[in-house]
């Protein structure tokens, strides 16, 4: 019986088919919102699904000069990393399928796996655009990762636990965004950096470096990377909503809060122009990290005084 539930969790929900479809739906919502902000009609509701099916049905070109094994496995690792992360977060407002103390750290690292695979995929090819894209991807990874982690550690510290479900329970009683506004902003913007959304899309700036690290990917590989991004979008939004926005105790609260967050993300995307990679790094280390650290310090002192 437990094997059956485990299989269900892995293949269907929350680590499988359903989260993939929800990821596609969220990608559509994002694209549609951006289109409406730009005074366009925007894509039809099945657009991301059609894109993925088309990419899966296309030829996959393995270019010359790459390590073929790495080229083929990297997208799989990226997607499975994102899917595994989905097992530890309360998607749809249901309790996470797996939980152990310290799963917050594991989840954050699983979420980084996608970016890491993208960077490796770019570095694997001989294409100069891919190489520049890979460099930028990894540079960006090093710039947002620390503040993002700090922003998620704030609630963890307040709840006194490293377990996502415990922090979510703690966050369900109070809106932590009021107590830790800096953490919320840093987490949200860190999520944008993670997903390489504008203004942090320098790693895949199509006007400068074609398509960044994924320039040489076609067909299946590209489809898997895109699916992984969709899943990561859902998982990231869930984490931020559960930690800062009063928890996601039931599906209605989950959808309302994550979609509201997505609206904010889409608004920021259409509002801001692309940052240069050095500006991105500067922004994260000079402001993001420092502010998150200051808030962290205040939290620790507060806890110390309260104890």
């Amino acid at each position: 019986m437990s094997t059956l539930t485990a299989l269900m969790a892995l293949l269907f929900f929350p680590g499988g088919l359903i989260i993939l479809l929800v990821g596609l739906a969220y990608e559509w919502a994002d694209r549609k919102l951006v289109a409406r902000f730009q005074n366009r009609i925007g894509p039809r509701w099945f657009q991301p699904l059609a894109d993925i099916v088309k990419l899966l049905a296309k030829e996959e070109v393995v270019p010359q000069g790459v390590h073929p094994g790495l080229f083929v496995t990297l997208p799989v690792i990226a997607l499975s990393g994102a899917l595994t992360a989905a097992l530890y977060v309360p998607v749809f407002g249901l309790a996470p399928s797996y939980s152990f103390s310290g799963d917050l750290i594991v989840t954050v690292y699983l979420l980084s796996l996608l970016t890491l695979c993208t960077g490796l995929a770019g570095a694997n090819t001989l294409n100069r655009f891919s190489l520049i894209g890979a460099t930028r991807t990894l540079t960006q990874l090093f710039s947002y990762e620390a503040p993002f982690l700090l922003a998620l550690l704030g609630p963890a510290l307040a709840a006194g636990s490293w377990r996502i479900s415990a922090i979510a329970d703690y966050g369900a009683d109070r809106w932590l965004i009021l107590a830790q506004p800096v953490g919320f902003v840093v987490a949200l913007i860190g999520l944008m950096g993670k997903l390489e959304l504008p203004p942090f899309d320098a790693p895949e700036a199509e006007t400068e470096i074609v398509a960044g690290a994924l320039t040489e990917y076609s067909g299946r590989g590209l489809a898997l990377f895109r699916l992984g991004k969709g899943v990561e979008l859902v998982v990231g939004l869930t984490l931020v909503a559960a930690f800062y926005l009063g928890g996601v105790a039931n599906p209605i609260a989950f959808f309302a809060k994550t979609l509201a967050l997505l609206g904010v993300l889409a608004g920021l995307q259409s509002l801001l122009a692309r940052l240069r990679i050095d500006q991105t790094v500067g922004l994260w280390w000079r402001y993001g990290t420092i502010l998150a650290l200051v808030q962290f310090l205040i939290l620790i002192v507060w806890k110390g005084l309260a104890a």
């Binding site: 925007g42 088309k54 996959e60 398509a211």
Partner: protein, 193 residues
């Protein structure tokens, strides 16, 4: 029995593939020697005014991501190798749309010493969109003609030419007039009647 099941599965899979291809044509734009007039029209096609994303059309930077090569201008001797290379970098199935009189035949530059002629002298072309330069509506209609060809799954490789008289194919596929919207088109029709 099993064979029959296999066949129906295969048919359903093919249908799904065709559906996805029709609904998600990602394009790449290549200028093989155009005067830039056609290119500006292509850029105008991508503006929010025409919003081709609602048909699933997206401009991609990398030929590896693209399904449709939109080619403008006559093919110069310099551009020939690049054009062939871009075409070969695209993964199958791939399609080519030649945009502008020059891409069709060499146009204003026909007979020049440095010109090889139209795009079809170098790579196979699926749809021809004439005009100097063609309007954005004509370019969208060219893409829609290509999609209609895909939907028909007609294996014969007869090229399709955009015919200004039959404009409105896009409207049929999209369920509305490409630019003016359904209500406006209807008003116009009534006014003509």
């Amino acid at each position: 029995m099993t064979l029959k099941l296999d066949q129906s599965w295969q048919a359903a899979l093919d249908k799904l593939k065709t559906w996805a291809r029709i609904n998600s044509p990602w394009a790449i734009h290549f200028n093989s020697g155009s005067c830039n007039g056609c290119d500006i029209e292509i850029l105008a096609t991508l503006t929010p005014r025409y919003d081709v994303e609602r048909l699933g059309i997206k401009l991609q930077g990398s030929p590896r991501h693209a399904d449709v090569l939109i080619c403008t201008g006559p093919v110069t001797r310099q551009a020939r190798d690049r054009l062939v290379r871009i075409y070969e970098q695209m993964p199958e199935p791939k399609f080519v749309i030649a945009v502008g009189s020059c891409a069709l035949s060499g146009g204003a530059f026909r007979g020049c010493y440095n010109i090889l002629g139209g795009v079809d002298q170098v790579i196979p072309v699926d749809v021809y969109v004439p005009g100097c330069p063609p309007r954005p509506e004509a370019i969208i209609d060219g893409v829609v003609k290509l999609l209609a060809k895909l939907r028909g799954a007609d294996p014969s490789d007869t090229p399709v030419v955009f015919d200004p008289d039959s404009a409105g194919e896009a409207a049929i596929l999209a369920g509305e007039d490409p630019v003016e919207g359904p209500a406006h088109a209807q008003q116009e029709e009534e006014a003509i009647a």
